[in-house]
Symmetry: C2
Subunit: 185 residues, 2 copies
Amino acid sequence: MVATIVFAGGETGPWAVTRVDAPCGDPLPATPRVSMTTAEPDTPDPVGTWTLRGVVSNLRYATSAERGALGAVQPPLARPAATRAALIPIRKSPAWWDLAQDERRSIFEETSHHTRIGLGYLPAVARRLHHCRDLGGPFDFLTWFEFAPEHEAGFDRLVAALRATREWTYVERECDIRLGRAPAG
Amino acid sequence: MVATIVFAGGETGPWAVTRVDAPCGDPLPATPRVSMTTAEPDTPDPVGTWTLRGVVSNLRYATSAERGALGAVQPPLARPAATRAALIPIRKSPAWWDLAQDERRSIFEETSHHTRIGLGYLPAVARRLHHCRDLGGPFDFLTWFEFAPEHEAGFDRLVAALRATREWTYVERECDIRLGRAPAG
């Protein structure tokens, strides 16, 4: 069973928005706060200016060796020092989704080195990928990242490196919401 | 954007149930009829004893060469002579979904020859695969098949061949609902 996660942008939530960019396509409406919660059956979604749902699902491209390399260094979410976060919703083009599996894999890793680039920023950056294409929303993926303030510049280099790849020529909408953990109270 | 398809088992629908098997795990409740409709936004699901939703999504294992081989011979749905159908919902085990992409691909095709076995029954059998694991229902896939009455014995051989593969050792629930197109009126 997959876990469903709901992101909501609105007036409340533990993450304060520090910056909103839309590198490609329409931006999401700006909100002061963002929340990330696990959806429970028969529980309504949190109220927000926008809500996005995704599922933590199976690997789509990573090989066993790549999973091993990632697993050896990838940190968990919710580290106390990781007080910065980013939510990056992405939609890829119909041309991407029309490709066969080996064609997408080849662009993803052999050409664009998606996993290899990401590995260079571990364990500083924690990441969780949420799939949502099959759910029918406006995006295909919602990726959530957490890192300490001193690693935000490195995170900027990571996303710049990915945006320069051939894989990203298939991205037709991308938002980039930067967040800081809001003071409790 | 993916298309969402809703299957409903109940008292109405254009397909009359002729046989219901559960080769593995719990059966679905028996109903006299089954319908298959495209879900429309803001339209409630059809009423039924059971309803199952799936999406027509991107390829997960097929290579470009395999897609080409399939595309050259696979027939469309709704051929007038194809008055028999089968709906086969399947759920695979957590052990399957925990495998990396290359491990699942290797079992799917290099070991179990899923696509190669299926190709032997084209163009007699039309097929449409619906993904539903990310939707959170009781199954991972809903596969719909259509064929003429004289090809039902061949279809039985096809499903028997697939059930004998290593891939099928990861199947933990499978239903097999056989249908005939009900007389209009």
